[in-house]
Symmetry: C2
Subunit: 336 residues, 2 copies
Amino acid sequence: MRTDPRTLDELPTPSLVVERSLFDANVAAMAAAWPGSSLRPHVKAFKSSAIARILAAAGHEGFCAATVREMEGLAAAGLGHDLLLANEVLDASRLGRLVDAGHRVTVAVDSDATVAAAAAGGVREVLVDVNVGLARCGCDPSDAGRLADTARAAGLEVRGVMGYEGHLMMVDADAKAAGVKASMELLIQAHSEVGGDVVSGGGTGTFAVNRWVTELQAGSYCLLDTDYARLDSPFEIAVSVLATVISVTGGRWAVADAGLKAFGMDHGPPSWPGGEVMFVSDEHTTLLDPDRTLAVGDRVRLLPGHLDPTVARHQCFWVVDGDDVIDRWPIDLRHW
Amino acid sequence: MRTDPRTLDELPTPSLVVERSLFDANVAAMAAAWPGSSLRPHVKAFKSSAIARILAAAGHEGFCAATVREMEGLAAAGLGHDLLLANEVLDASRLGRLVDAGHRVTVAVDSDATVAAAAAGGVREVLVDVNVGLARCGCDPSDAGRLADTARAAGLEVRGVMGYEGHLMMVDADAKAAGVKASMELLIQAHSEVGGDVVSGGGTGTFAVNRWVTELQAGSYCLLDTDYARLDSPFEIAVSVLATVISVTGGRWAVADAGLKAFGMDHGPPSWPGGEVMFVSDEHTTLLDPDRTLAVGDRVRLLPGHLDPTVARHQCFWVVDGDDVIDRWPIDLRHW
């Protein structure tokens, strides 16, 4: 029954909208700094094989994923040239099936158990995940060499190391430069004991200062969010949630029809460029509007505080050039 | 390739798990207080027509929804006996199609524009949504009578009023009793000017003290969350996110494979009954584990802070009786 929307006004709400010109500028800015295979785009940020295809066409043919489902979706989209699951798994059987189907699959390991799982599941290549300061996964740097030996003894090819300095993405510039250097020195020391030709790490928040990795794992830069926009960078926010004002009965506020189910809220509520957000409920965002600038039926664009969990709530991106809807990118890498 | 899991250990992670006995006890406790049609279950909390069917079998045959998609899904599941969209819409054409297909559809209106939209879309019945203190939708109580007249002049049947005292769900008992009384007196006064036989409102947080509505709009009570569990009520948390420990390399912490994409975070991070949650990332929850109680491969259950936006991130509930998986309820009412 629904025909394809041709303009912003015809889009259903809430809708996730991408401004194509800003997206393209972000992609170009990152490709200038990290060209070709020096960038391994992290699909967890956008969960769309349509975006991955654009990045592959821009020269970045290897991808990084956080879930097995993302790996499977990339392979199904014909992007299985060199896929890295930058996360530990205890059941690698679905990854093994990708290997059997001819895709190149590498998985992170940080323990004997995850090495054993990779081998048992039929994965052939691993990176040793090294803890470089974030309280999450990754082996102790001093254990990396031993773990590489264990992996090789289990018949696995050890391609090198990875280490994510996620605790440094949002710190100020001086602390970031010093922190990344210290983290990456741990990674480089581990690499010297592990071997292989890959040193993988970094992200949108450290792309300008991480000089140590052979490949950068960044994905948020394509679309950004209000949190990353606080950093000094060439990237701009290219994504928003389009919503319709459905009620202005309160006088001092207006209610838009996008809420908790349209946003990741771990970085706080979305931002409204026209003023302040009062609060967010399941299907509503209440906007402070003391001057009554909004009327019922108006469209507003709300900017997500955190891109990745916001994207994961939507089924597609609507791609626009100004007021024209020019494309629809399915968010096909969701769930697990 | 995947066979149906029969036990908790066989479930993939992350998975949303419902303990059937606790769910049944919650349903029974609410049905004792609000039997039959005095309860209009709000499906936004669980977004599953399988759960709605169980509630209909328990005597609650009319449902309340927050989105057009929820209305469509309930109708498709054969539950279109009496559906209320407790929210304003400016395009009611999809609702009109449900009416044409023989389902009973009522929609909330709070302005001339939403009255006109209901009539234009082919909806025949409305409730006048009255603001009873929450800074969201609902007309001024003094405008309710006029709006009802406008609706009737547009050919709509006005079934009565609704008003949601959402600002009072989590306040302490004394303030709640006084607040609900004041809010509902506004609603009853509006009702006297609107007419009709429906006074709809309330929720899980006010089910015990709201004596004014003819039908209670509650849904969270079925499954609950850690926020609602702070209230003194007969309801218990029947839902959790099952996760696998994938890394304990840090010594003082353990990492489980459920993160921001498995939880609504607006009420804060999930709770871990075994200890403290340090932080949550896209696909990880880092658990403080100084005594090293967790090993790689262990399963943990994480309790959501806010049910509704957590459920909306998952494709199904896995229903368990202790360690046995006894059913799978699709979360089929997601998106818009």
